[in-house]
């Protein structure tokens, strides 16, 4: 097969290699009205891939609530934008880079961060915060350590170099991720609400500029790769690895923001998956125009490149910019100042056709509407999977005594080893960084602070995708409330298995509906997101993992609330009632009963009351500590509060459900006794139970157990790094 620009005859085998089904190829012939050229076949293959077309997911995503008084830009652009008042807006999105990260963890994760940063600064926003949501396989799986080291180093390598702080994230482990890790990256930027840039074309005659790094042969067919399962033979796809260059991206960021100060730009679009093809087609689609690209003018990094490669390359750190004629010099000046490639490669046309030429000769000419609107859209069959077994009675003579084992659990233990590798302070606005319920980052020169959290819980979702996903939304909002913030928007990254399996499609649809219900109930619009399907290896699917990232706003004097007990003498109370739900809990998994039972339900009214109370308490300065209950329930949350070294005496005991149940709608608070009356007044209508007092260096529980805080700290802090260092160093994990 010659990847050239000559008119090959298209064979069935070529069609199949391009990931198009025979039916899809027939559809292509129908909408195009003729046989495609080889170049055009490549173009269709990426534009109609799951990754770019959302062909399996699109009809479901329409059910999400995407509007609200703050929403300036919802799903459909590179990232969503919400209004923060006073002329400012937050622009954010989350995106997956799962498949590339499994193949080459360092570069896969690094380019994932690079991609999400571009999505945000393309909109004119300066990136101010990153988050990462990670899933890996069993600790004793031979690949896990190398993947953890490589992925973390890759995120650090890219984000640190860019000077954008990574302020929060999450890391969890499950056997279903053994052969398919998840790497979801989130970025938020700040933009003046009247200076938002879109990927559009404006009028015919406008000029198309290519800026950034040169194009090489990397990542050709990456989008198609992200749209198929892994299995035997996927090793061969390896040469497509994209290598990130955060240095180039930093220059690109500064150059774009500099050019955006002026008025030259009509439209701007980053080149992400499917590179030049999808970026130019998307722009033309949004602008309702045609586009002419002279491919021979594209800056190239390698010799002998042909149109097919130029169109499909996923080389990183590149952008397309459309400007009005006469403004060319401004573009050249800015990008040359930053030592970046810049070339005028085409123009906006009025005939609605997306055209590419190569040294004057036409190599592709497809009506834009054919590429954007006629992509297949599937309502794939759904079927509920066979019911999972109920949760059996767990025999545990000493549930309190299980606390150290819970603190050592890979899903609960301290992940400092990871986030110490991330610069979480650059920008000097990080008030609360990683390790807290939510991060809190100041906006300089204002009284505004943005809070960030990401959460997903495959353990719950697999038991009931609707309820599990709704619970995650509630948990995100609760985490934001624990730093005093009110949610302003959500971005989601739907990581699921093979959508052609009716059970997976059912999981997906139910998860979307659960998210939609909870978002409506809590008043949080979904403003951006991403879908990653085919997360399976040799037929084994991952836990359904809707990755959620929520952003909150806090306004006022800097909130003084911590997630850990800062001192003795504080009263500690549980807001939101006693737990009992062990379905999908970390506790149940420790006994081998994950995938048993049902997840905790969400009581929206109680949830809202709790969040309001938390914000009121923090706003009034009545509490010194707020920490929500999630993985590991009450006892784990209480122990986590002791991790600065301060213990206490607490009337906490009872059965495993009360200790480790993962029921929603609950949080711990600690306050000085003199604030007791105020605290009771502000928590009216919320279940309130005093648990005891802080003090000393022992965590005493129900007169039966006393743990030296230092010992608990050691278990919690050391188990993750000890596991990482126990195995042979399986990777150098460096760029």
């Amino acid at each position: 097969m010659n990847p050239g620009n000559e008119q090959d005859t298209i064979t069935d085998e070529m069609v199949q290699k391009h990931g198009l089904s025979p039916e899809e190829y027939q559809r292509l012939l129908g909408v195009l009205g003729r046989e495609p050229t080889f170049v055009e076949l490549g173009v269709f293959s990426v534009m109609w891939s799951e990754h770019c077309s959302y062909k399996s997911s699109r009809i479901h995503l329409g059910r999400l609530p995407t509007t609200g008084p703050r929403v300036l830009i919802g799903p459909g652009e590179n990232a969503g934008v919400v209004d923060l008042g006073d002329g400012l807006a937050a622009c954010f999105k989350m995106e997956s880079h799962n498949h590339p990260s499994y193949i080459e963890p360092y570069q896969g994760a690094a380019t994932g961060v690079g991609g999400i940063l571009r999505d945000v600064f393309t909109m004119g926003a300066r990136p101010v915060a990153l988050m990462d949501s990670l899933r890996f396989g069993r600790l004793d799986h031979p690949k896990t350590r190398g993947l953890v080291r490589g992925v973390v180093a890759g995120i650090a390598g890219y984000g640190n170099c860019m000077g954008v702080p990574t302020v929060a994230g999450e890391t969890r482990f499950d056997r279903s991720y053994d052969g398919n890790c998840l790497v979801n990256a989130f970025c938020c930027g700040i933009v003046a609400s009247d200076r938002i840039f879109l990927g559009t074309t404006g009028a015919p005659g406008n000029k198309v500029f290519y800026v950034g790094a040169g194009t090489g042969r990397d990542g050709i067919h990456g989008a198609t790769m992200a749209s198929t399962e892994f299995g035997e033979g996927s090793e061969e796809k390896r040469p497509t690895v994209q290598v990130g260059d955060p240095f180039q991206e930093k220059l690109l960021l500064e150059a774009c923001l500099e050019l955006m100060q002026g008025t030259a730009i009509v439209g701007i679009q980053d080149m992400g998956a499917a590179g030049l093809t999808s970026s130019s087609v998307e722009m033309a689609g949004r602008g309702g125009r045609g586009l002419l690209l002279r491919l021979d003018l594209v800056p190239m990094r390698e010799t002998g490149m042909v149109p097919y490669e130029l169109l499909l390359s996923e080389s990183q750190e590149r952008m397309l910019i459309v400007i009005e004629p006469g403004r060319e010099q401004e573009v050249f000046d800015v990008f040359r100042k930053w030592d970046l490639s810049v070339a005028e490669i085409g123009e906006v046309t009025d005939d609605g056709v997306w055209r590419c030429t190569w040294h004057g000769e036409e190599v592709a000419a497809i009506p834009v509407a054919v590429l954007t609107d006629s992509a297949p859209k599937y309502d794939r069959p759904q079927q509920a999977p066979a019911a999972l077994p109920g949760l059996p009675e767990i025999v545990d003579p000493d549930p309190v005594g299980r606390l150290p084992a819970m603190l050592a659990d890979p899903d609960i233990s301290d992940k400092q080893w990871i986030w110490r590798q991330y610069d979480h302070q650059v920008g000097t606005d990080t008030v609360v960084g990683p390790g807290a319920d939510a991060a809190l980052v100041r906006i300089k020169g204002t009284r505004k602070y943005l809070a960030y959290v990401c959460d997903s819980n495959g353990r719950h979702v697999v038991l009931d995708p609707f309820v599990g996903t709704a619970g995650q939304v509630a948990e995100c909002a609760r985490n934001l409330a624990c730093v005093g913030a009110t949610p302003v928007g959500l971005s989601d990254c739907m990581n699921f298995g093979n959508p052609r399996k009716p059970e997976i499609m059912w999981q997906f649809a139910r998860s979307v509906d659960g998210m939609a219900e909870a978002c409506r109930a809590l008043g949080v619009p979904v403003i951006s997101g991403n879908v990653s399907l085919y997360n399976e290896t040799d037929g084994v699917g991952i836990l359904p993992t809707p990755g959620l990232a929520m952003v909150g706003l806090y306004e006022g004097p800097p909130p003084r609330v911590a997630g850990r007990f800062p001192r003795g003498g504080l009263t500690v109370a549980l807001l939101g009632g006693v737990g009992r739900s062990l379905g999908g809990s970390v506790y149940a998994r420790q006994f081998g009963f994950d995938r048993h039972g049902s997840p905790p339900l969400v009581d929206y009214a109680a949830e809202v009351a709790l969040h309001d109370a938390l914000r009121a308490l923090i706003g009034a300065g009545a509490v010194e500590v707020a920490h929500d209950l999630s993985d590991g329930g009450l006892l784990v949350a209480l122990a986590e509060c002791c991790m600065e070294g301060v213990g206490g005496i607490f009337n906490v005991g009872g059965d495993a459900g009360a200790l480790y149940g993962e029921d929603h709608g609950r949080a711990l608070i600690a306050f000085a006794p003199e604030h007791a009356v105020q605290v009771r007044a502000l928590t009216e209508g919320v279940s309130f139970r005093e648990l005891g007092h802080t003090g000393g260096d022992v965590l005493r529980l129900a007169d039966t157990h006393g743990y030296a805080v230092a010992e608990l700290q050691a278990v919690w802090r050391n188990s993750f790094p000890e596991w990482l260092n126990a195995g042979a160093v399986a990777t150098l994990a460096t760029a």
């Binding site: 240095f247 110490r420 590798q421 610069d423 302070q425 000097t428 300089k444």
Partner: protein, 232 residues
């Protein structure tokens, strides 16, 4: 009259804005200077920011050192002008030989972002006047901050009071726990920790403030000086 402080932006610098912000908080005027500028404007001090100049490719600071503006920075330093390099700025200063030693990969090999405790010592400098003897809690954020010098250089640096900051609890394997050094005249200082990150109580702490207060004072007076309200 306000002191004017140049903050150089190299391609890949990412703490330049943070430094300018900090400079402004202490009543000085930050002047942004582009690395391609052939001359330095009239300033009282020059700051080299942290970040990843040229991606930290090859060796940290190796390529940035050849930026056109560095010719003038070296001249400015030679005339006794105060020059401070933070993190990547420190690496650039070692690469161009304005301060001794080199910065190797951290002994733990990974990037580390954490607080460290430091003792201020050595000869008085424009950045530490009045701080000598103090203990500061400042953040580090680097992968290559493991300061190293051959035995002879090390002896000289120690003997002549050029060790300006020393870790209490070594985070990266640097020889003699050295976190920051000066040139022999004392007007050029490089350090790995980031004083500009801890200048506001709500964001991390204020232990970096003394460095900027010292600079502000030294721009107007002779050395050694007492920094007003230093943490000492």
């Amino acid at each position: 009259m306000t002191a004017r402080v140049a903050v150089i932006t190299f391609p890949g610098s990412n703490c330049d804005a943070d430094l300018r912000h900090a400079v402004g908080l202490f009543g000085m005027q930050a002047v942004a200077v582009w690395h391609k500028d052939s001359t330095l404007p009239a300033v009282d001090a020059v700051l080299l920011p942290g970040g990843f100049s040229y991606g930290d490719y090859l060796r940290c600071g190796a390529i940035a050192r050849f930026s056109p503006v560095m010719v003038d920075v070296v001249r400015f330093a030679g005339r006794g002008g105060p020059v401070l390099g933070v993190c990547n700025g420190f690496q650039i200063l070692t690469e161009c030989g304005l301060v001794p030693g080199v910065l190797l990969r951290n002994s733990g090999l990974t990037f580390q972002c954490r607080d460290v405790n430091l003792r201020v010592e050595g000869k008085p400098t424009p950045f530490t006047g009045g701080l000598v003897g103090a203990t500061l809690r400042l953040p580090i954020a680097h992968a290559e901050g493991n300061w190293f010098a051959d035995a002879e250089t090390l002896a000289r640096v120690e003997g002549e009071g050029q060790v300006i900051f020393r870790y209490l609890g070594n985070p990266n394997g640097s020889v003699h726990d050295i976190a920051g050094v000066s040139n022999s005249a004392g007007n050029v200082v490089g350090l790995m920790p980031h004083p500009e990150r801890y200048v506001e109580a709500d964001v991390g702490g204020t232990d970096g403030a003394g460095v900027f207060r010292s600079l502000s004072a030294s721009c107007f007076g002779a050395l050694p000086l007492k920094a007003p309200g230093a943490t000492a």
